[in-house]
Point group: C2
Chain length 295, copies 2
């Protein structure tokens, strides 16, 4: 698509009033204090060249909305920095973009389009803005707090293996390609919990980061890590589940007696680092806790 | 540099309080209504692989600050989406980033770092936030308004030719590599002018866009286009100056008797399109008015 065609297509998406109809050089955003987050996905690094473009669009926006969810924010809108490529890819990407914007009542604020040199991998950036956020930090866990996680863990990691050629159910593949940002959970939890973040690099590494930011240690019960029925049938490997990334669940610290439908999987202790056990039996730490060097 | 080293280096830059010390997943920005703009630069498209990395950093931020200048905004801060590459390039890039942030009292709010597949061209994105903006639109020119431009036009176009191997003075090369966003001019002008934008793609194409957005025609006097002494000595070609991009001057519409040290170069008329003359003598339009298809 040409730039003009692409922008015309963007104008048919839900536009934020700040976008001024995509007719100006800047957007004017007046939505009170804002939560701001930005993520860049690189073809061949964060997504596969064979991933369907509509799912790349979904995931690009979903990863950003997941960061807003962890702050309890209402999605205000996004900026898109997009490399125009072949026509079919661009058109299908726009379909996925429309899907996720509509699914999460998020609007386009603006962006930039560029042309890449021939053969260059696609690099896509989305910047997301959220309003009305309680914005709990990573660093707020207190000694004695329990560690909780929403939803199920490990589906996306299995889905990545399936995307790479392993056989497995469509449900797990969908968890990898179309993660669901936990915006409603985030809204409900943000004003009550002590610390919260999303699980993007792996449950163990992300929990360790929360503990580190809070100046504490964390003990996690592998047996408590919530697995889906599909994942149990696929492999049921709890260490793999807890170290795979892309879950986009919410991980939070709250008192032991906190009333929640999230799963309690561990506890914060004075000290530092991570202790792993399986219903009380100590478990050695796996060589990798998640995507530690992921840039 | 590793991601950890790069982020440690970013922490030594002027940080916005919203950045929370770059220790969280999101920034929290509470600066009133915001002007938001984003620009992506692609190696081999928007900058040359041989351009010094510190100048790439400067230009990446400067192009965004120029958009803020055209709205009369005070720079609040930036997000940086950065592909980690070789050590020397990263370190030198950071020096240029420190230069421009310091020069324009702009602070880092956050961003994202990624790793590229081997051989991929660098793609860099900056998103800039400005506050307290009068934010004149492109579309506000009135019939009878004069067209004005700040500074000199054409230096950066000559500088690009010099960067590509032509001989010429360092002053023109610097105009291409280290454009100066007209933030002070923008602050002064924004509350008084009828329409304003920056000149990024070429004086003629950008003036035509302002006229189009305003539902008017524009007549430009080539003889009035302000040239620097260095450009006059280099070539003095007025059509080349008026169709080269990267000037990052401010172009604005205001009444005929508007008191300004900017140069009056034309007038808005009822109708549509562009009329070019040389001190009254009609001049045919050049085949290209600027980077028309620049994405």
């Amino acid at each position: 698509m040409t730039e003009a065609e692409f922008i015309a297509a963007l104008r048919r998406l839900p536009l934020h009033p700040a976008a001024r109809g995509l007719n100006d050089d800047t957007a004017l955003l007046d939505a009170g204090p804002l939560v701001v987050t930005t993520d860049t996905l690189v073809e061949g690094v964060h997504f596969l060249p064979t991933d369907p473009p509509q799912d790349v669009a979904w995931k690009l926006v979903a990863t950003n909305l997941s960061d807003l969810a962890a702050k309890g924010a209402v999605p205000e809108g996004i900026l898109l920095n997009y490399p125009l490529g072949d026509d079919a890819w661009d058109r299908t990407f726009l379909e996925g973009l429309a899907d996720i914007l509509t699914a999460h009542d998020t609007r386009l604020i603006g962006g930039d389009t560029v042309t890449l040199p021939p053969g260059a991998p696609r690099i896509l950036t989305v910047t997301a803005f959220g309003s009305d956020a309680a914005a709990p930090a990573r660093a707020g866990a207190k000694p004695g707090d329990a560690l909780y996680v929403t939803g199920k863990i490990g589906d996306a990691g299995a889905g990545l293996a399936i995307a790479l050629g392993k056989s497995g159910p469509a449900e797990l593949l969908a968890a990898y390609r179309r993660p669901q940002p936990r915006l409603a959970d985030g809204r409900r939890l943000a004003r009550q919990v002590h610390a919260m973040m999303d699980v993007s690099d792996g449950l163990l590494i992300d929990a360790t980061r929360m503990a580190h930011a809070s100046g504490l240690a964390v003990a996690i019960d592998l047996a408590a890590v919530p697995l889906s029925d599909a994942y149990r049938a696929y492999s049921g490997d709890r260490v793999a589940a807890a170290t795979a990334g892309d879950d986009y669940q919410l991980l939070f610290a709250a008192p032991e007696d906190f009333a929640t439908d999230a799963t309690r999987i561990g506890a914060f202790l004075t000290g530092s680092g991570l202790v792993l056990h399986d219903a009380g039996t100590p478990v050695p730490l796996p060589p990798s806790l998640g995507y530690e060097h992921r840039a």
